[in-house]
Symmetry: C2
C-alpha cells in the first residue's frame, strides 16, 4: 500500500543537502516531491562527486524519488507558472537566504493569497530573524557555532567535525517535523501556515540534555573521545585488527565482559566490582582491558562478546556497513536503476505496518517532468509549452 | 495560539534519550505527552547528572512539557488502566526491546482491538526484525555500527564518537516523522497503524550522500578531521586564542578571505586562483593561512571575516552557545521554573507562523498526574483511586 503522504504534493525549491534530505524522507513516505530547479539546475548537480554515468552520486543520492521541473522563477511568466503550481500543491519548501523569497515574490503572504491551504517552509542557516539572519552558513560553520563540535574529538586535543553532516541534516529533520505537523493541523483548520526553520536551531535542539547538564553544573564539557565522561566501561578499544566499542557499565554487562575476556579476577576486585568504583578507577581497569583486547581481532572479540550479550560493535567503515546483515535485513540499502546507471542509496528508516511505500525510482534529469506536469496537471496546451521552452522559461 | 498538535494525546512509555527527545518535540508542538512510568520511574531519573534541586538535569532536560503517570503495567489491573488510557489517546510510543510489548500484552494488535484509531510506534536499537533484533544497543554502539564514527576524527588517527548523541537522537527524529505521517494519514483513513523504527536505521538514513559516494567510487572514506576531503579552504584553524572554522572554497568567499587577511598575493597566485588549484595545493595554501591565523584571536578574526561576508565561526563551547546572540534572539534557550528549582533547556526549533506553542512547563515528579488523569479523563472515583494507590498499581 502506498505511503502515508500519498496525495501530498511538495514543490521543492531546496538545493544541496539540508532541504533535499527532508524531501527525500517525505518522498519515501509517498509524497509527490517536485523539484523546481533554476535554469542551470540544483547546485548539487555540480558538486564534485563520483559519477553514476553522467550524473554525480551526491545529487542522485539526495534526489531519488523526486521529479524535476526547470523553471525560470526570475521571469514574470515563470512566476505565474509557479503560482499555477501552488494552486495545485500542498507544500512549498525552500532553503533560500531570508529575503530571496520576497524578491522573487514567492513569500508566504503572496502564496497564501493564491492558495490559503498552502504550507510553506523556509529552512535557512540561521532563520528569518535575529542578527545573523543574512549570513551564509555551511555544515561546518553550524557544527562549530552549535556547540556539537566542541564535544567531538580526543580529550585534550582540538575539536573535530562530526563526520555525518549533522549541521545540515538536523535542520532538515526539524523541517519535515514542522511540515508534517502543519499538514495535520490543516486537516482541522483548513488553512496552511509558514514554518521558519534553521540549521542552527536544529543544532541547539540536539544539545538536548547536554546543554542543561552544562548549565546546571557550569562545567564546560570538552571533547570526550570515544568514551562517556561518567561511565566505565563505555568506550572504543584497539584490537589486533580494527576497533571495537564496548558498553559494559551496568553490572550484568560488566560481569559478562570479564567472563568473556577470561578475566574473572576483575569481577571480585574491590576497585571494580561496582559502577562507582569502575568510574573512579577507570584508568587501571581500562589499561588491563586494553592489553587483552590487542590479543584478538575486532571481529573475533565481537563474536565472543555477542555470545555473552555484552553490547559491542566493530567500528564499521562504509563498505562494512553496506554488508551488515542487519542493515540488509531492514532493507536500509536500496538499489536504484536509472537510464544513466545503477546506484545504491540509504533506504526509508520509517517502517509502517499499513502504509509502506515500496516504489524506488531514480533522481531525475533536470526538467524531465516539466512538460508532463504542465500539460496533465496544470492543463497547458502543447503550443503554450513549446512557446515556454523557446523562451527559456521552462 | 497553541501548537499544531493540540488535542493529540501521546502515551509515552519511552525512557532515556531517543524516545523522550521525540516526545519533547511533540510536546513543544502542543501535544499532550503523558509519560507512563514504571513504579521505580524512568531509568533516566537515576542517571548520574548535575542536580536541579532533587532532580537530575539529564531527566528534567528531556522531559519538560510532559505529564507523568506511575503505573504498574505488570499487574492485570495496571494493564486494564493502560487500556482505558489507550481508549482516550492517539499515540502509544515505546522504546522497549522487541518482545516486551507482547509480554506486557500491549502490542499493536491488542491495542488496535481496543482503539482502532491508535497509532503505535516502537523505537528499538535495531528494529523488530532482522538478526540483531534482540540485542541491546547504545548510542556509542550505534554510532560505530552505522558508519558515522568511521568518518569522525583526525586523518590517520583512530575514530572518535560524535559528541552529540546522534545514534539516539537520529532514531528519535525518524520516530516523530513516522508518528506525524501516521496522524496525517489517519485523518484520511480513520484508522491507525504501527510504526517500527530503530536507532541503526536512523544512522543509515543519515549517511545520505556519503553512502552513495562510497559505493560509486569504492573509496572507503576515513575520518576527515575538520575539513572537507574535496574542497579548500573548508576547515578549522588554531588562532592566538581559540579555534575558528572558515568556509571559503567558493571564489567570492576566497577573495573575501584573502582580502580580510591582507594576503592579496594569494588571489593572483596561479596555484590558488581557482577551486581545483586550491584543492590540489591545499597544503601550501593552508600552511600560509595557518601562520597568519595565529596572529589574532578567534573572536578578532571572526569580526574581520564577518565584515567581508566570509562564512566563519568560532568553535563555541556550551557556555558560549548559551550567550550567542542569534541563539538568544531565536529563543532557542528556554527558562524552566519548577518547584524543585529553575533550569535552562533547548527550546523548540520549529517556528510556526500561526500555531506556535508558547507555554513552557517543567519535567514532572514521578506520578504527579496519576490521580488527576484517572479522575478527570478516565472517570475513576476517588475510592477506586485510593484503592489503586494502596495496592501499588498507580
Amino acid at each position: 500500500m502506498p505511503g502515508p503522504l500519498t496525495g501530498v504534493r511538495v514543490l521543492d525549491l531546496t538545493q544541496a543537502v539540508s532541504g533535499p534530505y527532508a524531501t527525500l524522507l517525505m518522498a519515501d513516505l509517498g509524497a509527490e516531491v517536485i523539484k523546481i530547479e533554476p535554469f542551470k539546475g540544483d547546485q548539487a548537480r555540480e558538486i564534485p562527486s563520483p559519477m553514476v554515468g553522467d550524473q554525480g552520486s551526491y545529487f542522485v543520492a539526495m534526489n531519488r524519488q523526486k521529479r524535476s521541473i526547470r523553471l525560470n522563477l526570475k521571469s514574470e511568466t515563470g512566476r505565474e507558472i509557479f503560482y499555477d503550481c501552488v494552486r495545485k500543491s500542498d507544500v512549498v519548501f525552500d532553503n533560500f537566504r531570508p529575503g530571496v523569497r520576497e524578491r522573487l515574490q514567492i513569500d508566504y503572504q503572496t502564496l497564501a493569497g493564491i492558495n490559503p491551504r498552502i504550507i510553506s517552509c523556509s529552512l535557512s542557516a540561521y532563520g528569518a530573524t535575529g542578527p545573523y539572519k543574512n549570513k551564509p552558513g555551511y555544515d561546518l560553520i553550524i557544527q562549530a557555532l552549535g556547540g556539537g563540535m566542541s564535544l567531538t574529538g580526543n580529550p585534550g586535543e582540538p575539536p573535530v567535525r562530526m563526520g555525518l553532516p549533522i549541521g545540515d541534516l538536523g535542520g532538515g529533520m526539524c523541517s519535515i517535523t514542522g511540515i508534517l505537523a502543519a499538514l495535520y493541523e490543516r486537516e482541522k483548520s483548513g488553512i496552511g501556515q509558514h514554518i521558519d526553520t534553521s540549521l542552527l536551531d536544529g543544532q541547539i535542539s540536539l544539545l538536548a540534555y547536554q546543554l542543561t547538564d552544562y548549565h546546571t553544573s557550569l562545567e564546560i564539557p570538552k571533547p570526550h573521545g570515544t568514551g562517556h565522561p561518567s561511565a566505565s566501561v563505555y568506550r572504543m578499544f584497539e584490537t589486533k585488527e580494527g576497533y571495537i566499542v564496548v558498553v559494559a557499565h551496568r553490572e550484568h554487562f560488566f560481569l559478562g565482559l570479564v567472563e568473556a575476556m577470561e578475566l574473572p579476577e576483575l569481577a571480585i576486585d574491590e576497585r571494580f566490582n561496582h559502577p562507582i568504583g569502575r568510574r573512579d578507577h577507570r584508568k587501571e581497569l581500562e589499561s588491563i582491558l586494553e592489553k587483552v583486547f590487542l590479543e584478538k581481532t575486532a571481529v573475533e572479540w565481537r563474536k565472543i562478546l555477542d555470545k555473552m550479550d555484552v553490547p559491542c560493535a566493530t567500528v564499521s567503515t562504509l563498505d562494512q556497513v553496506m554488508e551488515d546483515e542487519q542493515v540488509l535485513a531492514r532493507k536500509m540499502i536500496v538499489d536504484v536503476d536509472a537510464t544513466y546507471g545503477s546506484y545504491k542509496a540509504p533506504g526509508n528508516p520509517i517502517k509502517m505496518s499499513r502504509t509502506n511505500e515500496e516504489r524506488v525510482f531514480p533522481a531525475p534529469f533536470l526538467g524531465e517532468y516539466s512538460e508532463e506536469f504542465l500539460k496533465n496537471v496544470l492543463g497547458y496546451s502543447q503550443e503554450q509549452i513549446d512557446n515556454l521552452i523557446d523562451k527559456e522559461i521552462i
